[in-house]
Symmetry: C2
Subunit: 330 residues, 2 copies
């Protein structure tokens, strides 16, 4: 079913059909002719061949989003926002993850004209990939990751999130507040740490003990172990990530401490899951969906050389659940 078939049936030229299909506003057509064309389209069940169209127009109406790992539920929300934004633009969003081969394998297939832009979420800085993207002139933006060498990113206000969390603990009366940080390589972790430090300073409190972990339950458990081992264990911990918090809570229980009576815990990212932990976890809700949405919006119409530097303040909120309470009387 091609344009030619429709044209033949409607007894007009392919050009006319094309312009009808695309609602060309400069087309001045007799209503009856348009009807004939529309009827033929319906009759034949014609659908434009997107590949041919892409080749001709050098527009794919398709954006891509790469994430490190689908198992991380944080990305589910980002994807949701990005898909919605793409749909609003009449485009599709396709998502892929960096498997063993890295993203490089995708590049062979994501050449020019095949995709209109790429969102790189959390995949560190695969310089080889970026170089290839630039050569192919496909626009890209880093999502939720910033790196010194790059002037194209959208990130969240992680510092503010940390301040919210620490402020909550301080407000409850805690003074020995530890930080279970993210991996030092992740810039989100760095910003959350900076926010923690600033908030402690502003509250007139000294930094508590600090331990870094990757964003996994196992890492969180280990780090929590070292936080508890010190001479003056904290009464509250600000955890940089909800996955780590799951492991951390388990470790606290293993040590025979009760949450929140003897240990308060608050973490970044409010996932469904948080409300089903034991006890339900107090979190900072980040505008992840908004992040995905904004990423696609910015990507749309971005020139390969434009720079984008945006820190999304967005709606951010402390979700108070049962894992935080005033510190024990001593």
């Amino acid at each position: 079913m091609t344009l030619a078939d429709v044209a033949a049936m409607a007894k007009v030229d392919r050009a006319v059909v094309s312009r009808v299909v695309n609602d060309d506003p400069t087309l001045n057509i007799r209503p009856e002719t348009r009807q004939r064309v529309l009827a033929a389209i319906k009759e034949l069940g014609y659908r434009p061949n997107v590949t041919a169209r892409s080749l001709r127009t050098a527009r794919a109406h398709m954006f891509g989003l790469f994430i490190p790992d689908f198992a991380n539920p944080v990305y589910a929300e980002i994807i949701k926002g990005a898909e919605a934004a793409a749909a609003a633009l009449g485009c599709v969003l396709v998502t892929g993850s960096a498997t063993g081969a890295g993203l490089g394998g995708y590049m062979d297939l994501l050449g020019p004209g095949r995709i209109d832009g790429l969102l790189l979420a959390g995949s560190g800085e695969d310089t080889g990939l970026i170089e290839q993207l630039d050569r192919a002139a496909v626009p890209w933006i880093m999502l939720n990751r910033r790196s010194p060498a790059v002037d194209r990113y959208v990130i969240l206000d992680d510092e503010r999130a940390a301040r919210l969390a620490v402020g909550h603990l301080v407000g409850l009366g805690h003074r020995r507040i530890a930080h279970l940080a993210g991996p030092s390589g992740a810039d989100t972790a760095q910003r959350r740490f900076a926010g923690y430090s600033a908030a402690m300073r502003e509250a007139g409190l000294p930094d508590g003990p600090i331990a870094a972990a990757d964003y996994t339950p196992a890492g969180g458990a280990a780090a929590m172990g070292s936080l508890l081992a010190g001479p003056h264990p904290p009464t509250a911990v600000f955890v940089a990530n909800v996955a780590s918090a799951i492991g951390a809570m388990e470790r606290v229980r293993e040590e025979g401490l009760e949450i929140p009576r003897q240990m308060s815990i608050v973490a970044v990212h409010d996932l469904d899951l948080a409300s089903y932990l034991a006890p339900p976890l107090t979190t900072v809700r980040m505008p992840l969906e908004e992040l995905g949405r904004r990423g696609v919006s910015l990507l749309n119409g971005l020139k390969p050389d434009d720079s984008v530097e945006e820190i999304l303040a967005g709606p951010m909120a402390l979700i108070t659940r049962a894992s935080t309470a005033p510190p024990p009387e001593d």
Copy 2:
């Protein structure tokens, strides 16, 4: 950078370049000519235009996978397997989810030649979509879902999973074993229920109480409430899904019952998460990654009219953790 540029530089015809690029085995070329071509390709940084190639060959080297929701971690494993299988075939796999608009919105862009096949995971039976796919002659397979009207699916052996779980509980000495089932509309839920029933019968036990829930924590909590409300509450529950199990466990705790001393729980799907619940959850590990892999393998080379009916036995295992124990002495 097109074939023509390379051809000009190497002083050969585009056709020659094309066949060098594609390693055409029927090409008989002088080594020095080939070197010239290769050098020009490198020099110019030429990369084939995938869109043009797709238009010409009617092959996209791209498969699609549609899932209902990225937040469901079950799909993360499926995607992982599917991406790996696609990569092994030199193709990419792109994943999308059914947002408000349903998958229909994608179809405009996933026309013929743009995608070589589609895996439909768990998205019920969107008949409109399937009709469109068939018209566009793009092969598709249902993944982890079977429906009477459809002879193209790959599913897991849910019955066997249920038998494993129930067998474990029976082995521990339980006799009053309830089933917290999935939504009656889901065929996975039906098969798990069938397996439960069969296993109970074979063990000489009567069906225990049964309550259905959607595959969410909230649903699981409610259903567990009704299981506990009966006159002879069970000593163990086989839960059809790990998300429900999370809610169910919470509800059991709220009722003041201790897991596993007073209530054993085993659920289908072994997610990372399961080992971080309190207590760690005994599960049946399903070959989800294998499911994704198999889906892509079958899709590859599938003719639009071929039928595929496969029940993946795959590696399946009971992962014993702390949520199951012998029943109380009474």
